[in-house]
């Protein structure tokens, strides 16, 4: 199994297109960092407009590496699924297109093992992309902007996290994001089984993610309690939950606490269920598939 995984990883990282995602992420992060370095105050003034009338807002202290990383993740974790689809949608369909799939299944490994190795390779790629993102978004921002307490603007409130209470939240958030993006990889992987070239599953995955994200973000009562709780895109933003603290009876944030951990774990469970559903469906379809390409 490990040898299979190594072979699949070799195939993924041999293709130049794999590195497009790494380059795109680096470019987007640097653009955001540069923008915030030169005009971060305007952005903060917009975020802090609700409190700047009543409070002195130390903009220069608020604009620190932790906040910049949060802003980057806020922006990128909506776009990154598209980059994941680029590779995960290609793992089966790409081989079908090149005509190597039939050759591959003649090898003395079960189709299930082959599929698991291919999905595992997509997950490794996803995790590596996230580590790359963490290095640039978090550690480079900490280097450029320094560190301090982090202020997060929510729809109806503002959260402050002490600087010595932040790093573990980022680790948890990146861990959660890995599962969320692996769900997208699983969807692209499933769609890849049905196609003979990689364009179809890549575009289909992007379309599904975009449509479902719009549905998840819209505040329409008809969808709120019927469809939304079951869409995987509704649970992809739950990484933010790690940055929301509990408050004590005096309204003070409690260090080291998470406002609604059960909700995050529930969302995590839903995403893992989707992964199991997508991957097992892909395996079932692939096992029964008559491979002609």
């Amino acid at each position: 199994m490990f040898t299979l995984l190594q072979i699949e990883l070799f195939k993924i990282f041999k293709r130049p297109r794999t590195y497009i995602s790494f380059a795109a992420i680096a470019a987007m992060i640097l653009i955001i960092q540069l923008g915030l370095k030169f005009d971060g105050k305007s952005y903060l003034q917009l975020l802090m407009s609700g409190i700047s009338d009543s409070f002195y807002v130390p903009y220069d202290m608020i604009l620190n590496g932790y906040l910049v990383a949060f802003v980057i993740l806020n922006t990128l974790l909506i776009q990154v699924p598209l980059l994941i689809a680029l590779v995960a949608g290609d793992v089966i369909a790409g081989e079908a297109n090149m005509g190597t799939l039939r050759l591959l299944v003649t090898k003395p490994v079960s189709r299930t093992e082959l599929m698991l190795a291919k999905y595992a390779a997509s997950v490794v790629y996803t995790v590596l992309l996230l580590i790359w993102m963490a290095l640039l978004a978090l550690f480079l921002s900490m280097l450029f902007f320094g560190t301090n307490d982090m202020l997060i603007a929510r729809n109806d409130s503002m959260e402050q996290i002490s600087k010595n209470d932040i790093l573990w939240r980022y680790i948890a958030a990146f861990g959660y994001a890995a599962v969320a993006l692996s769900t997208v990889a699983a969807l692209a992987f499933l769609l890849s089984v049905f196609a003979e070239n990689s364009i179809g599953p890549i575009v289909s995955t992007i379309s599904v993610v975009v449509v479902l994200t719009i549905l998840s973000e819209m505040k329409i009562p008809l969808y709120d309690n019927t469809v939304k709780p079951y869409l995987f895109t509704s649970h992809m933003l739950a990484w933010k939950g790690f940055f929301y603290s509990k408050a004590n009876s005096d309204g003070q944030a409690i260090r080291g606490s998470v406002e609604n951990l059960p909700a995050i774990l529930r969302s995590l469970g839903i995403l893992l269920s989707y992964i199991v559903l997508f991957v097992s469906s892909a395996i079932i379809v692939f096992r029964k598939k008559d491979i002609l390409s």
């Binding site: 917009l46 409190i51 002195y56 807002v57 202290m61 603007a153 109806d156 402050q160 600087k163 005096d250």
Partner: protein, 230 residues
């Protein structure tokens, strides 16, 4: 005869009003003299902020003061959002300038006899419209001050005194102020909706904020550089 009695009554009424006014004024002067004993201080304290839309941890702060009215609250280890009024509506600020002091009666707080004094600014365009001081006559300490401003609503400061009472410096200060509604569009925040029940209507609409600073130590009249206030 009747007419003479009437004038005497009016005259004595006016005299007593002036006497009361002078009484309130002289009491405030004594309070001000006591406050003036402090040229500068550096205080160490712990700040708690309780505002319906803010969730912040308790913070260790340093409070710096230098005559005539420089006040700075700093969080040495992180960020503290300090209400604007907490700095501009300090006692030294309220007691400076021209005003008319009126005796508004007496009260008893925590078993102590309190004089209530209202301050009306002489300048009609001043931002502060009215201040009410609750002064402990025996110790010459302001226990509470309520201020109504033209632009920023009303403020209230309550002070408890202990070992620094001789310098009119409180061990604990509670500052209550008005806040505006806070709301940002979801398109900006991309807030995560965990499906839990949101805050009650009362909490969301609460437009009063409260900041409490408990002071643990003061360094008084040891000199402070102006750079601290920049």
């Amino acid at each position: 005869m009747m007419k003479r009695k009437f004038f005497l009554l009016i005259f004595s009424g006016c005299l007593s009003a002036i006497a009361f006014a002078q009484d309130a004024g002289s009491l405030l002067q004594k309070v001000r003299d006591k406050l003036n004993k402090v040229n500068d201080y550096e205080a160490t304290g712990r700040m708690k902020t309780n505002v319906s839309f803010l969730k912040v941890p308790e913070a260790d702060v340093k409070v710096y003061f230098k005559k005539p009215d420089n006040l700075r609250i700093k969080n040495e280890k992180g960020i503290s959002l300090v209400p604007k009024g907490a700095v501009s509506i300090s006692l030294n600020n309220l007691l400076k300038g021209n005003y008319t002091a009126l005796d508004a009666g007496s009260d008893v707080i925590d078993g102590r006899k309190i004089k209530i004094i209202k301050l009306l600014p002489v300048d009609e365009n001043a931002d502060i419209v009215l201040s009410t001081f609750y002064v402990d006559e025996s110790r010459l300490l302001v226990l509470k001050a309520k201020t109504t401003t033209r632009e920023s609503g009303s403020y209230e400061v309550e002070m408890n005194y202990g070992k620094y009472a001789d310098y009119a410096l409180p061990d604990k200060m509670v500052f209550t102020f008005n806040t505006k509604d806070y709301k940002l569009p979801k398109g900006i925040t991309f807030d995560y909706d965990d499906g839990s029940k949101k805050k009650t209507e009362n909490n969301v609409n609460s437009n009063k904020g409260r900041v409490e600073i408990s002071y643990s130590a003061y360094i008084i009249n040891k000199g402070l550089p102006d750079s601290v206030f920049k």
